[in-house]
């Protein structure tokens, strides 16, 4: 991804100017932000790992997790990374129609994932796992909730991008804007791989 960035960073007329590193300011800033996000999720994941086995009341993790269901929604989220790549590629070819198409599909896949999460939370709640039930409950909802909020913010960014592209309201480099949202989106997906493995797949 970084190599592509260097190759395509300066091909547009407006807004491109030489920087000391060769990376554009916006892209460098996005990488820095994602680096910072790693520590945010690091803290949340550590909290969950510390508390996952501590259940004084309410259900245990392995009593309520529905692995096949969550595997499907994880697959949907991972597929959205593929469609995001296609959107970035279309944007670099300056193909607005396909850019918007793929961005919309990405947002829909993301929304499917968030919908699955809402369903899952509701089901867990009915089975007796509230936010305040146990340490497991508090830390599970906080970790996955933070991730869900990140996906939701990503969906808003994708939809805003679609709206702004179709009305031609993107200031600066259009392809780069799509790519930056893409970086964020891939990051959120990668974090989910870690969360899915640690929270759902490794038995407590």
């Amino acid at each position: 991804m970084a190599d592509t960035a260097i190759a395509h960073g300066h091909d547009s007329g407006h807004g491109a100017h030489v920087t000391s590193t060769g990376l554009s300011n916006n892209k460098l800033a996005m990488w820095m932000f994602l680096g910072s996000e790693c520590l945010l999720f690091g803290g949340l994941i550590s909290t969950y790992m510390l508390y996952k086995g501590r259940v004084n009341s309410g259900p245990q993790p392995d009593q309520i997790f529905d692995i096949p269901f969550t595997s499907v929604s994880s697959f949907v989220l991972l597929m959205s990374s593929l469609t995001m790549v296609l959107a970035v590629s279309a944007a670099q070819r300056k193909d607005d129609r396909n850019t918007n198409l793929w961005l919309t599909i990405t947002a829909l896949l993301g929304a499917t994932f968030v919908g699955g999460q809402v369903y899952e939370f509701t089901a867990f709640y009915r089975e007796g796992l509230g936010f305040t039930t146990s340490l497991f409950g508090s830390s599970f909802y906080t970790l996955t909730g933070f991730h869900g909020v990140h996906v939701s913010v990503g969906i808003i960014m994708l939809m805003a991008l679609v709206g702004m592209i179709s009305r031609n309201r993107i200031p600066g480099n259009k392809a780069e804007s799509v790519e930056l949202v893409g970086l964020y989106w891939h990051f959120v997906d990668i974090v989910w791989i870690v969360i899915f493995t640690l929270v759902y797949l490794i038995p407590s």
Binding site: T21, N25, A29, M32, T47, T142
Partner: protein, 671 residues
């Protein structure tokens, strides 16, 4: 010729003149604010120099607030059974004193210097993201005000600045103080995080041609290290603060021992942030004195690459020492040993810096100006604080000292004697650059000596108090247990309290000095290069123009400005002056860049920042207010996103007669 061509619609529309150009209205909801000299300009400005000054003024205001809190604490302890504050007020006072000094004075004051001088030192015209820069300032200001409104709304936070769980739960602290604390720090955290990203990108990406990393002034280096520390430390405290907020507002169980929670979780999260934080506080001051000592020793900095790299080493090792704050919590022998060793190891790069400063002064033609005095005082006082710090690295000794005044003595020596002396050195050194007037040296000497004497009187006795066993955070001490003779607690408490008044007098003299310098007609305009400076920020006007440099200089040397003023004879190695500062500047300005695009002013940063405390009040009091705050965030973010960071090209470059046109030089950043 005018080299900045920017939208000036106000003039054009008001005066009915035809030459004015309209700012870009195409994409914004508001018309873009145009240049003006009124107070409104400070609201909408994105100029890094103005924001630097605003950071400085606001941080100094909080310094006075935090200082008054400290004086109240000392007045409470001046005599046995103090009656100035009750126990509850005392708890709030020491909590808010520390919070204010750390988050609302030292950090933003370092941000003030970083904002003002980093672009100048690397030869840039502004930071990478000017609007985000403005947003960061407003977040800090509104977050700080939000935090302090707790005083008037049922009491401020009272759990100590590290707010240990479960003492921070609603059971032990039923007022809203800690809610204000956690959300206020969340907001100032946004300021730090956005500032960190902004300055990292600025330093990495916007250096002038030839300004390699190893030619950057050392202050810029230290700022870079600090911003990386912030980038990775702030999200950890963010997690901790979220857990605390969820616990207090939504009954989560994170720190509820009855549900099986581990109170050490908070301690780990807090100190993983908290220890890098102490380097965040001190490294900018290290950078400032590393600029000042060479200038007044008339020698280059001894071992420049070593100073830069030891700063980076402190940054790295600083991540592996956090548990030395927790030696008394029963971590187990392995953890204690590891963190003990790591803590001793971090003394090495710190000691390297001290050696470098001393060697810089060694054999130099020392000039004892006020900035130099403060810098030397930093070296001395920080060394004392550093030595008592090493005693904390030794776990058995630390267990004895934990939660006593010895700890208080240690961190005030490194933070007051280190960080704050460095900031004062910076005030005196850079004042003529920022305001064209030099602060009075004679008043400055009074200011300096009162602060040094006051500081040692206040914090020196605390070593003895602590080793005698006086615990910190106790609202009273009693004569019955005060001890005898030389080790009488009462005597040393009294000395310490009187010292705090001397210290306050010193700070007051600084304020008097500022007022005197700017009101008195006797103070002349400072020369362009009053200290015979070495770095790039002196190679432009004082104060710098809005675009900093008429021509972006090409850098060939470390200490570029020095090398333009002085030359060394090849055979005799004699250094002679070949040009004055004025000549260097005149030569640079002979062929100014044309068509400099500076970023346009914007309303969005202040509006977005304003929404954050509204969310905070909403979470504490009322869900309707919360909804309003969230709606404001969404709306302002879209407004921001759709506003181009610079006005359209047509606004900048009106077709002028004789202008060839077409070759626009876009030197200002976008973002």
């Amino acid at each position: 010729m005018a080299i900045i061509e920017r939208p000036s619609s106000e003039v054009a529309i008001a005066g009915g003149s035809t030459v004015g150009v309209k700012p870009s209205e195409a994409l914004g909801v508001f018309k873009r604010p145009a240049a003006s000299t009124s107070w409104r300009d400070w609201i909408v400005t994105v100029d890094h120099k103005k924001l630097g000054i605003m950071y400085g003024v606001a941080a100094f205001f909080f310094f006075i607030v935090g200082g008054l809190e400290a004086v109240l604490i000392r007045m409470q302890l001046i005599a046995p059974n103090g009656k100035v504050l009750n126990a509850d007020q005392y708890n709030q006072m020491f909590t808010m004193h520390a919070t204010t000094m750390v988050f609302l004075f030292v950090m933003p004051m370092a941000a003030a210097f970083a904002n003002y001088f980093v672009p100048l030192q690397i030869g840039a015209r502004d930071v990478a993201f000017p609007r985000i820069n403005a947003f960061g300032f407003w977040c800090f200001l509104f977050g700080g005000i939000f935090l302090n409104t707790a005083w008037f709304l049922g009491g401020a936070a009272d759990g100590g600045w590290f707010m240990y769980a479960p003492n921070s739960s609603t059971l032990f602290s039923p007022s809203h103080g800690i809610d204000f604390w956690s959300m206020g720090l969340q907001i100032t955290g946004i300021a730090s995080l956005t500032g960190a990203i902004n300055l990292i990108v600025t330093i990495l990406n916007m250096r002038a041609p030839g300004m390699k990393m190893m030619r950057m002034p050392i202050f810029t280096w230290m700022v870079l290290v600090v911003q990386f520390l912030l980038l990775f430390a702030i999200p950890v405290i963010t997690v901790a603060l979220f857990l605390l907020t969820f616990q207090r507002s939504f009954d989560a169980t994170f720190f509820d021992v009855a549900s099986g929670a581990d109170p050490l979780l908070w301690q780990h999260l807090f100190w993983i942030f908290g220890h890098p934080e102490v380097y965040i506080l001190i490294l900018p001051s290290f950078g400032i004195v590393s600029e000042i000592l060479p200038v007044f020793s008339k020698k280059p900095l001894f071992g420049y690459p070593i100073v830069a790299m030891s700063g980076a080493a402190i940054g790295f090792v600083g991540w592996g020492v956090w548990a030395h704050h927790m030696f008394a919590s029963g971590l187990g022998p392995v953890s204690v040993t590891v963190f003990s060793m790591a803590t001793m190891a971090i003394a090495v790069p710190t000691g390297v810096k001290i050696v470098n400063w001393v060697m810089t002064m060694w054999g130099g033609k020392l000039q004892f100006t006020v900035p130099m005095l403060f810098s030397i005082a930093l070296v001395v006082q920080f060394t004392i604080g550093g030595l008592s710090g090493v005693t904390h690295a030794v776990a058995p000794s630390d267990t004895q000292q934990t939660d006593t005044y010895y700890i208080v003595a240690h961190f005030h020596y490194v933070l007051f004697g280190g960080a704050i002396f460095g900031l004062f050195a910076g005030f005196y050194y850079w004042w003529p650059k920022m305001f064209r007037k030099q602060l009075s040296e004679s008043l400055g000497r009074w200011n300096f000596w009162l602060m040094v004497v006051g500081m040692n009187m206040t914090f020196g006795p605390m070593h003895m108090l602590g080793l005698q066993g006086q615990p910190r955070r106790m609202s009273v001490w009693t004569e019955a247990r005060a001890g005898e003779g030389f080790f009488n607690l009462g005597f040393w408490n009294r000395i310490s309290s009187i010292g705090s008044l001397v210290l306050s007098l010193g700070v007051l003299l600084f304020i008097i000095n500022v007022v005197y310098t700017h009101k008195s007609k006797k103070v002349a305009i400072a020369p362009l290069d009053p200290w015979d400076g070495r770095t790039l920020e002196w190679m432009t006007d004082s104060p710098p123009k809005e675009h900093n440099f008429d021509t972006i200089p090409t850098i060939n040397n470390l200490d570029e400005f020095f090398h333009r003023k002085y030359a060394q004879d090849a055979t005799t190695h004699e250094i002679t002056q070949v040009a004055t500062a004025e000549e260097v500047l005149a030569e640079m300005n002979a062929h100014p860049d044309e068509h400099i695009h500076m970023p346009s002013r914007s309303y969005w940063p202040i509006l977005l920042a304003l929404a954050l405390p509204i969310i905070g009040y909403g979470l504490i009091y009322n869900r309707v207010i919360l909804a309003v705050g969230v709606a404001m965030v969404v709306a302002t973010m879209f407004g921001w996103a759709m506003e181009p960071s610079t006005a359209a090209d047509d606004d900048f470059d009106p077709p002028a007669p004789g202008d060839g046109g077409g070759h626009t030089k876009e030197l200002a950043p976008l973002g």
